[in-house]
């Protein structure tokens, strides 16, 4: 398996001088589903933003298939940010057209199918829809690309449990076996069955990278229980 993402001594300090990500070395490979887990302020979103080229590292580097973040990396990474960026004035169908226009690898048929399965009206304006429904639409758009890496920052937090199951099934069935998914969430027990590996972050550092079944075998605990133990306050 080749490295999709390579972080080398990656560091990001904000203006207050406290490092959000500190001297991080991390490799993300093809064909895996990763859970990026850690308490609030452990550096998860900072790391994701550097991978997506939205933040510039203070030191070190992040390479996507050997290149720095840029036009090429955006073609292969499909990113769901923690906050929605869709214009509330638009209709659902406008957003599909927008994504189709913007990304070569966007598959509108896939998006329509998921919207229909979740009972979302394609002519509705986003501002008339609930927060959870808007989150579902955003996720559907992101998952309808043929990307090599999907980075999902809190994809299920605002979504009801039944739709969560649907979304999780969608993630499993839709992604190409060569692609990787990185899911950042606090709802560990909802997603741990679909993960290959988990990455625990603490104070900007990777404190654990292991397979889910390895943790269950060694610790005799679910990842959720193990997380509560490692990060007990």
């Amino acid at each position: 398996m080749s490295a999709l993402i390579e972080c080398r001594n990656l560091t990001k300090c904000y203006q207050n001088g406290v490092p959000a990500v500190l001297d991080m070395n991390l490799t993300i490979e093809s064909g895996h589903i990763y859970g990026l887990l850690g308490p609030n302020g452990s550096g998860k979103t900072t790391l994701i933003k550097m991978i997506n080229g939205l933040l510039i590292p203070t030191a070190g580097e992040v390479l996507i298939e050997g290149n720095k973040p840029g036009v090429e990396s955006r073609k292969i990474i499909s990113y769901l940010p923690e906050r929605t960026y869709l214009d509330a004035q638009n209709k659902v169908s406008d957003m599909i057209a927008f994504f189709e226009d913007f990304y070569e690898d966007f598959k509108p048929d896939r998006a329509w199918e998921m919207l229909e399965n979740l009972g979302i009206n394609r002519e509705a304006r986003l501002k008339t829809l609930s927060k959870g429904t808007r989150e579902k639409i955003q996720l559907i758009l992101v998952m309808s690309r043929e990307a090599k890496l999907f980075i999902l920052d809190e994809p299920i937090a605002g979504v009801d449990p039944a739709a969560r199951d649907y979304i999780i099934r969608t993630i499993i069935t839709n992604y190409n076996p060569e692609a990787s998914v990185m899911i950042c969430t606090h709802l560990i027990s909802d997603i741990e069955n679909i993960l290959d590996d988990v990455i625990f972050l603490k104070q900007g550092k990777v404190v654990l990278k292991a397979q889910v079944d390895e943790i269950r075998e060694k610790a005799g605990k679910t990842v959720d229980q193990y997380f509560r133990e490692v990060f007990a306050c």
């Binding site: 079944d213 075998e217 679910t222």
Partner: protein, 134 residues
């Protein structure tokens, strides 16, 4: 035999157990084709790699085999399925004995409980009439 994968044991081990039960109970009859890795992974809500690992385990136990044209099929060797069924029964019996032991019963008393249940004296448990009771 729905998927109940919440326990703190490795997920693939629990998947193997569920699939084993489906084979011995005839949900997947001998010689039949089982669903694809992806179908099973989606049904169980697990990662396809984990499902693949579980199926590889079943293949090692020669309970399923991969056919070039039809995908994965259950073994036609019914004696193998029968012996699996017996070993599951032994495991379950052991678990029962351990639990009853924790309640403080010795083997003779436990055997009495089993006999009573089989004779139908105890055929109502938890409001359900046990199958085979009077």
């Amino acid at each position: 035999m729905t998927w109940n994968l919440k326990e703190d044991r490795p997920i693939y081990v629990q998947i193997v157990e569920t699939l084993r039960m489906r084979i011995v109970s005839g949900v997947y009859p001998p010689g039949s084709r089982i669903p694809s890795v992806r179908e099973l992974a989606a049904e169980a809500g697990v990662n396809p790699n984990t499902m693949q690992r579980a199926l590889a385990d079943l293949e090692r136990m020669e309970l399923i085999s991969t056919q070039r044209t039809t995908g994965k099929t259950v073994t036609e060797d019914e004696s193998r399925i029968l012996s699996l069924k017996e070993s599951i029964a032994e495991e379950e019996t052991k678990i029962y004995f351990v639990k009853m032991g924790e309640l403080g019963f010795d083997h003779r008393q436990i055997a009495d409980f089993v006999k009573k249940a089989a004779d139908g004296e105890n055929n109502e448990i938890g409001g359900y009439t046990l199958m085979g009771g009077e």
